[in-house]
Amino acid sequence: MTELVFKYPEALTQANTHYCPGCTHGTIHRLVAEVIDELGIRDRTVGISPVGCAVLAYNYFETDFQQASHGRAPAVATGAKRARPDLIVFTYQGDGDLASIGMGEIIHAANRGEKITVVFVNNAIYGMTGGQMAPTTMPNQKTTTSPDGRDVALAGYPIRVAELISTLKTPAFVARGSMHSPLQVVRSKELLRRAFNYQVQGTCFSLVELLSTCPTNWGLPPDKACRWVETNMVPYYPLGIFKTPEGDDRAPMPR
């Protein structure tokens, strides 16, 4: 007797993705799909894909989908969820999409307490357009539009989205995980599960920020890209839960 020990999640199509080798976008897709399967919500889930490398997410998730314009996924999700509160609506957004052009939409969706789940992929760069500076780009990080490194005197410091959203008084689940090691991947899945579960319960808005890699535009092989996340991003973007609807908000960030 053979036993099936590993398979495609039901919530993923078997299409080959267009993601670059070693990019953690694919792993995040898998985590989201596993959570959708485990919560048994696939047939009432609607995903909202962003503008960014994940624009084609609708080809990879085996659920109904809407494709949003750049940064507006939280508004599109608001419309879908308000129209059909019985649906489980999630957005999947990059850092350019969510933290730059779409900052208004995400803050207000969170502040209204929209019962949606936001999967926020922070890879410190604009992947799809070829590696330009993002609001989350690290100080001194070289990108195609900051060739000498991000100058914080001119471009400001990277925006900590999880911390920013967690200052809102409206109850929410806000957390940050990372994709740089197997342990962190497992922990990130747990955060995603909690986030989706709050929506299933009808409790609150939920956002999980996931530190992710862009080997292509960082110019690093995948393993080094993961180390780069660990050594450069994690100290600035601490991992953990920042806010829960039960009210155990994390203390203000150490500087």
């Binding site: 696939r42 047939d43 009432r44 889930t45 609607v46 909202i48 624009v55 084609l56 609708y58 085996e62 659920t63 109904d64 989908f65 809407q66 494709q67 949003a68 314009s69 507006r72 508004a75 599109v76 999700a77 608001t78 419309g79 879908a80 969820k81 308000r82 129209a83 059909r84 649906l87 208004g104 939409e105 803050i107 207000h108 209204r112």
Partner: protein, 360 residues
């Protein structure tokens, strides 16, 4: 139902509810605030949902998300707000989503003013956002007609899976007139099941729903463009609406105007007709698709054409396309939020009849 005295904006809001719309997403802007205000208290009464968005950018993307589930959804704004919605309107058209949008126009450009205008004609009828697309555009001239057209708009939107815009000048939104909502209104379109909507995929026969306007392959995108064009052709064949009042087969002046301006022109025309002058009026009701043929035919019967607009001459370009040089075309426009009075309109009509004033 008995006639009720209502402000244009309120009648437009009530008409959306009568059309079975339970969802409104919008952002305040004068002179259409009474639409969101009215719906913020009416929608909860009928089990609906009103959301004040953080911007028109957001409101227009909320209607995108709501329409993607197949529910009827409405938003309204005024000129600067419609500019902000233009990106989403392009996405709505590209993704073939049915929504109704009311633009209660104010004078522009930029922040312009809050007084009535008609200078968003190009934006409404020629696109506004990027790419090859059109909204179906309806222009009422009375509060009653606004209420009727809003109800038609929801059916047209569903039927064509396309955004429909109600284009009213500020006067339509702000004036009060008696309105009647019929209890047994007959739908103008038969709407099929919305099997394209993203409502959760049950694997029960319908394909997985993907609401999308992205087609990276040139052939696929061109096919999509052709499908959209075929839809616009169907609108051109079946949806052109206009009102005309022509004094026989030969007359001296054809007046063309739309919205409340046409009503003013109609009063001026009646007064001049009483003095024996032979004037006709044609009023496009659908601004897209435009009644080119009707204007062309009517112009053939007249010696000259006179276009009135609260703009520097936008519909004028479509009149030129309809008339194709067959008759001299004159134009009178007011901007800045000024209205055209019946006396002013009559004076312009007489000027053209007496052979004064340069043609276009």
């Amino acid at each position: 139902m008995a006639k009720k005295l209502m402000k244009g904006c309120e009648a437009i809001g009530e008409a959306a509810i009568k059309a079975g719309c339970k969802l409104f997403f919008g952002y305040p802007i004068t002179p259409q605030n009474e639409i969101p205000e009215y719906l913020s208290h009416r929608l909860p009464q009928v089990g609906g949902m009103f959301v004040q968005a953080e911007s028109e950018v957001s409101a227009s993307n909320m209607i995108y998300g709501a329409a993607g589930t197949g529910e009827r959804v409405f938003t309204s704004s005024s000129s600067p707000g419609i500019s902000l919605m233009s990106e989403a309107i392009s996405y709505l058209a590209g993704s073939q989503l049915p929504v109704v949008i009311a633009n209660i126009m104010r004078a522009g450009p930029g922040l312009g003013g809050i007084l009535p205008g008609q200078a968003d004609y190009f934006q409404a009828t020629k696109g506004g956002g990027h790419g090859d697309y059109h909204c179906l555009v309806l222009a009422p001239w009375s509060v009653q007609e606004a209420a009727d057209l809003v109800q038609d708009a929801f059916e047209l939107a569903d039927y064509y899976r396309n955004p429909v815009m109600i284009l009213g000048d500020g006067l339509i939104g702000q004036m009060m007139e008696p309105v009647e909502f019929s209890d047994d209104r007959v739908p103008i379109k038969e709407i099929g099941p919305k099997d394209w909507a993203a409502t959760g995929w049950k694997r029960d026969g319908r394909p997985r729903a993907i609401v999308n306007s992205l087609y990276l392959d040139a052939d696929t995108l061109e096919t999509h463009n052709k499908n959209l064009m075929a839809k616009y052709d169907e609108m051109k064949a079946n949806e052109v609406r206009f009102y005309e009042d022509l004094p026989g087969e030969e007359f001296d002046l054809l007046v063309v105007s739309y919205g409340t301006v046409a009503r003013v022109c109609s009063t001026a025309m009646e007064n001049l007709r009483a003095q024996g002058l032979k004037i006709g009026l044609i009023r496009p009701i659908t601004l897209y698709p435009f009644p080119y043929e009707a204007v062309s035919k009517a112009a053939k019967k007249a010696k000259a054409v006179l276009v009135f607009e609260l703009s520097a001459g936008q519909m004028l370009e479509d009149i030129k396309l309809a008339v194709l040089g067959a008759k001299p075309i004159h134009f009178y426009g007011r901007t800045g939020g000024h209205l055209i009075t019946p006396e002013e309109a009559a004076k312009e009509m007489k000027k053209v009849l007496q052979g004064q004033g340069g043609a276009q």
